[in-house]
Amino acid sequence: MTRLTIALTAFLALALSIAVFRITYQVDELEGRLHSLNTEILDEQETIHILKAEWSYLNDPHRLEVLAKRYLGLEEMTGEQLITLETLDQQPPATVENPKAKPVKLER
């Protein structure tokens, strides 16, 4: 009986200490990963910060205007391109390519 108890205790002590060591090492490893992830996040945030500045630089209205004119064939918007819902059906029909085609009646 006594022998059995001693053997069991010794076994338990050994098993627990192994488990504790394993957990300690796991925690250490996880903490290391956490630290590196946090550093990474900070790095990414810094990159985002710089990219935001670059985004703003690339979106300079004058630059966009020049690019849109050169590559997209877009022109400056004029007041006649804005209409309200009330005046929608009073608009002259857009240039009709096929003269036989009837202008589409817009339903409100």
Partner: protein
């Protein structure tokens, strides 16, 4: 003897057992107490404080990185100023020399990579023996990589921040700039230096970069075409006083303070004060109508020049007949305006100018603000010349906010560069009555339809305004060949939203304009261009196409010819 010996032995054993007993008891008690504490702690942790465990994970809580200086954004949240991390190169000269390096060799390698570093300076710093000496500040990542490749001992990098303005010169006069250590030197950077240094001190401006870009471009084109010295442009929300655009040309690139040369650092829109010419006739007319000194049907004789002392006041476009109040404004008659002003008198004139904020320095959130120049003694000649914008010099910004007040229903807002949050209460002062403001709007529209402001007539939005051409004073004399041409336009006239002012300093006449460099030729087209472009941008639907013309008999009916 033997018996005594046995007894002593027995006693000794008994004492030993007792001592052992006591010791066991004490040890047991101590352990018992400790185990109780542990048990208590376990109960405490598991049952009582189970969900209040401290958070073990610490992670960066904020989305944005911490910078020593906060961002500045425009009204739509576009970044206009930010601090970017950079590296500055410094040398630990002691370590450098101890490593047995030759300063001249290293200096040659470095100055080849870094053009801003001269050979002499590099050698001096490398051989100084000091532990810390800046070589070059704010390197590009590429330069940093190249310097690291050289592998020179004793060279280190220090992380720093550099203020960056992504739009370059677009907002230079508004934002100002900072010195190399990140202290605000001019503009918003200076006036909000304290707030920008505080954590979370992000500023949101009232400026719209798109409107700013349109205004700057239109102004620049006019300056180039008419070979002018410079110009200023202001776009203001007449209902709130928010400035959507504030341009002064020439400007500079705040990213590179070496570009601040000549008058590039001078803010013509807020710091410069100018005699703005005939735009003041709007103020003169508003004053006369609001105070009831004249009424809209009154006529004034403009057939011959007015004489006052050595001077005479004449009209640029002489009509040689009696003119009504609307005609005086539409034909921009100096003679008529001077007579209206004389009716009103000095006190009334001064009171209205004061109410419109033209006698005091404007309050706006940048330090570069000019004080207006007003006559010390208000003589009869002052009254007359001020009526058409001479003898008083104000900043374009100041004038824009005064005219906004005349057009918006008579309420003066102080101009602001910061975005006003929805529902925020605005300090405002009533300066003229609603009725006068309504009359003024009609008159301003007439100037554009029939008067000198025809070139500002937009196809889509009803613009009302006034031209102003003033000869500049040089050494106490007016010089006909250097002038200030300006135009103020408010649109849309049926429900004013924005006041647009364009001022060109020193335009020269060109062939296209038949040698004219007056406001109608120079400044009015700028305002038209700006209105046409920012109207759709700001989501404004065009004004109704049909506009009622005034019939003969209406005081606002004006026969242009004859």
């Amino acid at each position: 003897m033997e018996l005594r010996g046995a007894k002593v032995k027995q006693q000794r054993t008994k004492r030993a057992i007792e001592t052992g007993h006591n010791r066991t008891l004490v040890a047991g008690a101590v352990f018992g107490v400790l185990f109780l504490v542990l048990a208590g702690r376990v109960v405490d942790l598991s049952l009582l404080r189970g969900n209040q465990e401290p958070e073990l994970v610490t992670s960066p809580a904020r989305e944005e990185i911490e910078t020593s200086r906060a961002n500045i954004m425009d009204r739509n949240g576009i970044l206009v100023a930010t601090s970017l991390p950079t590296d500055s190169l410094f040398v630990d000269s002691k370590a450098f020399l101890e490593a047995g390096e030759k300063p001249t060799m290293a200096a040659r390698k470095l100055s080849r990579l870094l053009p801003e570093l001269s050979m002499d300076k590099a050698v001096k710093h490398l051989a100084s023996g000091k532990r810390f000496e800046y070589l070059v500040r704010n390197l590009t990542p590429e330069q940093k990589y190249q310097v690291n490749l050289l592998g020179i001992p004793g060279l280190h990098f220090q992380r720093e921040e550099r203020r960056t303005y992504p739009q370059g010169p677009l907002l230079s006069h508004v934002l100002g700039y900072t010195d190399v250590d990140g202290r605000g030197i001019a503009g918003i950077e200076k006036s909000f230096d304290h707030q920008l240094r505080a954590p979370d001190g992000t500023l949101q401006l009232s400026i719209d970069v798109r409107v700013q870009s349109v205004m700057r471009q239109a102004l620049q084109e006019a300056i180039d075409e008419f070979k002018a010295l410079g110009g200023a442009g202001v776009v203001m929300d007449v209902q709130t006083g928010e400035l959507l655009s504030l341009v002064s040309l020439p400007d500079y690139d705040p990213n590179d303070t070496n570009t601040i040369q000549g008058d590039a650092g001078f803010n013509r829109a807020t710091k410069g004060v100018y005699e703005m010419g005939s735009i003041f006739k709007l103020i003169n007319t508003a004053m006369a109508l609001d105070s009831g000194v004249v009424n809209i049907n009154d006529t004034f004789d403009a057939s011959k020049p007015l004489r006052i002392g050595r001077f005479s006041i004449s009209d640029y476009h002489a009509h040689k007949r009696a003119l009504t109040v609307p005609e005086i404004l539409v034909f921009s008659s100096n003679i008529g305006s001077a007579q209206i002003a004389l009716e009103a008198g000095a006190d009334l004139q001064r009171e209205y100018l004061d109410r419109l904020g033209l006698l005091n320095t404007t309050s706006v959130e940048i330090p570069e603000v000019g004080a207006p120049l007003v006559p010390v003694t208000w003589r009869k000649s002052s009254i007359m010349t001020i009526s058409y914008g001479h003898g008083i010099a104000v900043s374009p910004l100041q004038l824009d906010s005064a005219i906004s007040a005349i057009a918006n229903g008579g309420v003066l807002h102080s101009p602001t560069l910061l975005k006003i949050k929805k529902g925020e209460k605005l300090p405002a002062q009533r300066v003229i009555s609603q009725k006068t403001s309504e009359q003024m709007r009609k008159l301003m529209r007439l100037v554009v339809l029939q008067g000198s402001g025809k070139n500002a007539n937009s196809k889509y939005y009803r613009v009302g305004g006034k031209t102003g051409t003033a000869d500049k004073q040089e050494g106490g004399k007016y010089n006909e060949h250097t002038r200030i041409s300006s135009f103020i336009g408010v649109f849309p006239m049926e429900n004013p939203r924005y006041a647009v002012l364009a001022m060109v300093d020193g335009p020269q006449g060109i062939k296209r304009t038949f040698g004219y460099a007056t406001a109608g030729w120079v400044a009015a087209p700028i305002v038209k261009k700006v209105v046409d472009r920012i109207g759709p941008m700001l989501g404004m639907s065009p004004s109704p196409a049909v506009e009622e013309a005034y019939k003969p008999g209406d005081p606002l009916f004006i026969k242009t010819k004859g």
